[in-house]
Amino acid sequence: MIADGRTALYRALAGIALVAVAAATTAIVRGDPDLALAGESGAALAAELAAAALAVAAAVVTWRAGFIFPVLLATAALAWLVAEWNAPAAGPAFTAGLVLYAAWPPLLAAAALRGLDERPFDRPAAVLLALSFGTAVVLLGLASAAVFDPEARGCVQCPANLLLIADAPGLGDALGRAGLALTAIWTAAFAVLAAARIVGASPARRRLAAPVLLPAVAAVALFGADALHGLDRGFISNDPTDRAMRLAEASALALVAAGVALARLRTRRTRAALARLVLDIGAAPAPGELRARLADSLGDPSLELLHRLEGGEWIDADGRVTELPAAGEREATRVHAGGEEMMAVVHRPGLLDDPALVSELVTMASLALMHERLHASRRARLEELRASRARIVAAADTERRTLERDLHDGAQQRLVAVALAIRLARHRIAAADPTLDTGLAAAEARVRAAAVELRDVAHGLFPTVLADEGLRAALEELSEHTPQLVPRALPAGRFAGEVESAAYFAAVESLRLADHEVTVDAVVENGHLRVVIGAGTVLDGAMIQIRDRVGAAGGTVAARDGELRLEMPCAS
C-alpha cells in the first residue's frame, strides 16, 4: 500500500516521538537505577524499550487516516515508557511522570476495545474507559500529585513537583489506596468485557480481534494485579514483585504488537487469495467459477452468489428468481458497488463479518463480479425466454389435442353416421331404382373416404397414445401407420410432456421430409434423453419446428450426416 504524504508524516512523527521518549527513559533509568522499575538490569530496560518499539511499529504499520486504533496503541506504548519518569533523574519531566505513570493501561485498553476493525466504543466500553482514565490520570495522577511534595517526603534530590498545591501525606495515602483499589476493579471489569466480546463474536471477527484483545487483557490484568500488590502501602513501587510484573507486562505488550502483525498477516493472506482469484479467473470467468473460487478461498463450500436485478428481485447463478435467506443457518452479506446493491454472498454465519474483507472482496473482484452478474441476468432472460417458448409449445399442443378430440368425437362420428344413413337409404328406398342406388353408392364411398382422411388428419394433430402411453408406444404405433418409420431401441419410461412431444414430432417432421426409411433410437444418459433420428437426407426444412420444440424442453438439436441428434434434460 502506498502511503500518502500525511500518513508518512504521522509515521515519521511516531518514530521521532518513540526515539525521544526512549532516549529520555533510558537516561532516567540509567540515572538512578535503584528507583527505576527496570532496575540495574540492562536486559530489563532493553525489554521495556523493545516492547514499546514493537507496539509503536505495530501502530505505524496499521496507520490509516481517520483510524483511532493506531493512535491509541502508539500513545499507550509511549505512556508505557513514561511510567519510568516519576523518578528523581527525570528532571523537568518529573511532573509528567507523576501524572501519567499509570496512564498506559487505560490507553492500551482503549486501543484493544477499538480493535483493528475500528469498532466504535459502545456504552459498556465508554463507561469502563471513563472509569479507567479517571482512576489513572485524575485520581492516581493529578489529585495525588497535587498533595505530594517530594522534598517533604524525604526525596531531596527530586525535581520540583509543578502541580503541588500543598503536601498532605494522609490524603495522598487515601487517594493512592482508592486509586489502586479502583485500578484493580476496572482492570478486572475490562477482562470480563473483553471475554464477553470474544465469546459473543462470530468466528471471523473473533479471529481478527482475539490476537490483539487477549494480550492486551493480560498486560492490563498484570497491572491490576500489581495495583493489588501495592494496595497496603498506597502506591506502586519498584520492589522485586513490581519489577517482575513490569517484565511480564513488557512481554504482554510485545504480544499485542505480535497480535496486530498476525491479524494483518491474515488479512493480507485473504487479500492475496482474492487477488489470485481475480488473476486466475481474469475478467471473464466461466459461469459459476467465481462462486467456486470464492467458496474455496473463503473456506465455505456452501457459499452462494445471488445477483440483484434492476427490478429488485434476486436471482441465483442459474438465473432463477430466489429470496435472500432469513437470519438463521445462512447469512447474506450484501455487496454494494457504485452506490447500488449489486449482489449478495450467502454463506455460513460470520464468515464475512470482517468489513475489511467485504470491501476487499468488492474492489478486487468487481470486474469478475460484474461479469458473473451480467451472466446471471442473461441466464435469467434466457430462462424467461425458454419458459415462454415452452408455454407457447404447450399451449399449441393443448390446442392440437382439443382439436383432435373434437374431430374424432364430432366431425368423424357424423361422417360415419352419414355414410350409414346413405346405406340405409340405399336399402330401403333405392333398392328398386338402380340409377339412384349407383348415385348413392358413390356418395357413400366419398363420405367414407372423407371419414378415413379425417381420421388421419386428427391422428396427425396429436396422437392420444403419446399422452396416454408415452414416446415408445406412440412411435411404435406411428410405425403401424407409416411403414417407413423404424423405431429401434427406445426407453419404455415416461418423460415430461414437452420432452415426449418434442421427440415424437421431430420423428414426424423427419418422416415428412425423408424419402427413405427413418430410424429412431433413444437412450437416457446422465439425466438426458438422447434421440438419434436417422433420415439419410438433409432435414433443413424441418429444423425450425424441431428446434422450437426441443428448445422449449430445454434441449439442443444437432444435424449431421443425415442424422438428427436431440438432447433434452429429463428427470426420468
Partner: protein, 215 residues
Amino acid sequence: MRVVIADDEALLREGLARLLEDAGFEIAGRCGDADALLHMVEVRRPDVAIVDIRMPPNQGDDGLLAAQEIRRRHPDVGVLVLSHYLDSRYAARLLEDVPERAGYLLKDRVSEVAVIADALRRIGEGECVIDPTIVSRLVARKRARGPLDVLTGREREVLALVAEGRSNGAIGEQLFLSRKTVDAHISQIFLKLDLREAPEDHRRVLAVLAFLRSG
C-alpha cells in the same frame, strides 16, 4: 342372434340397429353410455354387445373399459368394439384378458353390413375378429430386426388372416387352398417365427398379434 348396441351418437346407433334388423339380427337394446351398457348386458344377456370405444362419461376409452368389464363378468357374452383408432394397442388390450368372443373393427365399417354381420357371427361362434386394415398395417411395418423377411408371400397372407382371427377352414376358403395345405403353412409359419402353436384359434390370434406388435 341377439345384439345390444352402445353408441353415444344417436344417428349412428339407430342406423346400425336398422341395418342389423334388416340383416336378420334381433336388437335387444340400445344405449348411449358405458354404465347403461353394463346394466343392459346384465339384464338382457345378449349374444354380442356392439360397443363404441369412445363414450360418455369421460369420452376417453370408456367403451373399451366397459367391454373388458363385460368380458370378465360374462365370458359367454361376445363383444365387438367399434373404434376410430387404427392403433393395434386397443385391439391387443381387448384380447389380453379373455381372447375369445371378441372383435375390434374400425368404425367406418358400420355401413358395410356384410362385414359387421360376419364379425358378429364369428364372435357368436367363439372366434375373435381383428380389423384387416389394422393387421395389414402391422404386417407391412418395417422392423429393425425384419423377422417377417423369412416368410414367403403366401405365408404372409396366411399370417395376416390368422391375425384377423380366421379359422383354418375360413383361411382355406378365402385363399382357395385345401385344409391340409393351410395347416402345413401355419405349422411352417409358427416354426419360422419361433412361436408356440396354441390349441385354440383365439389364443393363436393373441400370440400372432403380440408378435406383430413387438419391434
